[in-house]
């Protein structure tokens, strides 16, 4: 780890002031991603601004019946919050599919949204990587790319976003509340993370002087027909090869509203309004689910080692939608996939 200065922010405005005063500064919340990357010399901040004591730990009901969740709510507290368990179990399930109990106790909501890719070349400072050092090239393109993206890639970067929580938030239509030097703004979670294009060093649309203060869930939680299915190389404590968040509104066997998002396949949680529209008004059958999966995966392309992900994702989408239909969501503890 490099040497750095340490400041403790006294409130959100102080954090924004401290960020503006030192362009090399970074916020730190749970530390579980940033300290890891600092130990690898991937991140070398001149100053850490400790926001972990700021009063952003509330889970509050909004006037329209949704929930506002402070950026510093620990991942485990959120997953086990009674309102999340009852009204947004898809989100609880996705969070519990990620990391370990210890890490979830430390990790914050804001930090989870901001966690960086697990591309092994990004972590290895001896190799070229456009995300870590813009303009140096992408080692994964023709290297070990088994874990890499199949959708929304560019010639500069094929990294994936590793967050499980974000996949559920994308499906649920969450909003991100942001504070910065020019005031407050709110953006949709699906517009928060970026595709790599020719600027893979930018993971998100958060400005360098801005801070996430909260996320907001709309009223509709899809608490009956949902499932989060995560496929990985070992059954726990591993990042997704492919994950699926599915949520349905059913009238009998007919689909009303449908939500579908993929994790582990792109630089951001992957949602397609076309695939969801194709499900609306249809019977909840494997055939229709397969058609939606094809729409969701339209344009998928593989590199040398990750071609298996396309078929894996297709099958996982169908299976997750079937779990949602039968109201038997994937258990994150009992590993059998029903």
């Amino acid at each position: 780890m490099n040497n750095f200065q340490y400041s403790r922010a006294s409130d959100v405005a102080d954090a924004i002031r401290l960020l503006a005063a030192d362009p090399g500064a970074k916020l730190i919340a749970g530390g579980t991603n940033l300290i890891d990357l600092m130990k690898e010399n991937v991140e070398r901040p001149s100053r850490l601004i400790d926001i972990s004591r700021l009063p952003l730990r509330e889970v509050e009901e909004t006037p329209d019946g949704g929930l506002r969740i402070g950026a510093l709510v620990p991942n485990s507290d959120l997953a086990y919050h009674p309102l999340i368990e009852q009204r947004y179990p898809l989100l609880a399930s996705a969070i519990l599919a990620g990391a370990s109990a210890q890490l979830r106790n430390m990790a914050s909501v804001g930090g989870n949204l901001m966690q960086r890719t697990r591309c092994s070349y990004f972590y290895d400072t001896t190799t070229p990587c456009n995300k870590r050092s813009p303009g140096t090239g992408c080692s994964a393109m023709d290297g070990l790319n088994r874990n890499h993206a199949i959708l929304g890639t560019s010639n500069s970067c094929i990294a994936t976003n590793p967050s499980d929580m974000s996949v559920a938030l994308a499906a649920l239509g969450a909003l991100v509340h942001i504070a910065g030097p020019s005031g407050l703004r709110t953006i949709a979670l699906t517009d928060f993370h970026r595709l790599p294009e020719d600027k893979p060093h930018l993971d998100t649309n958060l400005g360098s002087g801005e801070i996430i203060t909260a996320i907001e869930l709309p009223p509709h939680g899809f608490a009956r027909n949902y499932s989060y299915l995560k496929i990985r190389d070992r059954l726990s404590y591993a990042f997704a090869l492919v994950s699926v968040a599915a949520a349905l509104e059913l009238e009998g066997n007919a689909i009303g509203e449908a939500r579908l998002a993929l994790g582990g396949v792109a630089h951001k949680p992957w949602r397609s309004l076309g695939a969801e529209a194709a499900l609306r008004g249809q019977a909840a059958t494997p055939d229709h689910f397969g058609r939606a999966a094809d729409l969701l995966l339209q344009g998928a392309t593989a590199r040398s080692h990750n071609g298996f992900k396309i078929e894996l994702a297709r099958r996982a989408v169908v299976r997750t939608l079937m779990q949602a239909t039968s109201a038997t969501p994937q258990s994150q503890a009992h590993k059998k996939i029903a």
Partner: protein, 161 residues
């Protein structure tokens, strides 16, 4: 280029295993290194130093965390329990006794982290069966593969708590 001036040491207070400990740390000292190298509490182990093994698990304000991924300065004022602080007056903690009863280790390197993690698990009250224990203990690796006996030890401690 990062600012290379070395900041002054920052005074902090930790309550470690019930005892107030004052120390001065440079900002990049992890809690794990502060416990092991500054406070000479070497029961807490360093395995991977990257959050991937759980050997460094301690309880902060009663919650289990990886001490390798937090900074000592950030924990100023916190109450920390390490493996050295679990046993009561002359009596082993029920989890320590259960690990012995079930032979839940071989080399023992992962054991302090396993036991602190299990103490956190019991306090959380979320595990009801062996599958849930396995899932909620997945943050603690054991390269000796003592997993079946670790699960049995935790089941024993849970049934008696």
């Amino acid at each position: 280029m990062a600012d290379m001036t070395i900041p002054e040491r920052i005074p902090i207070n930790l309550v470690v295993n019930g005892e107030r400990r004052a120390l001065e740390v440079v900002p990049w000292t992890t809690l794990l290194d502060a416990l092991r190298d500054r406070l000479e509490l070497t029961g807490t182990k360093k395995g991977c130093d990257h959050g991937q093994c759980g050997a460094c698990t301690v309880l902060i304000d009663g919650r289990r965390v990886n001490s390798c991924l937090t900074l000592a300065v950030m924990k100023d004022g916190a109450e920390i329990t390490t493996i050295e602080g679990l046993a009561g007056d002359g009596a082993l903690h029920p989890l320590q006794q259960a690990f012995i009863d079930h032979d839940a280790f071989q080399c023992g390197y992962c054991t302090p982290g396993q036991i602190c993690s299990a103490a956190g698990l019991v306090a959380e009250g979320r595990a009801r069966d062996a599958d849930e224990i396995r899932e909620l203990m997945s943050g603690n690796l054991c390269r000796c593969g003592a997993y079946p006996n670790i699960v049995a030890a935790i089941e024993q401690a849970m049934s008696r708590s």
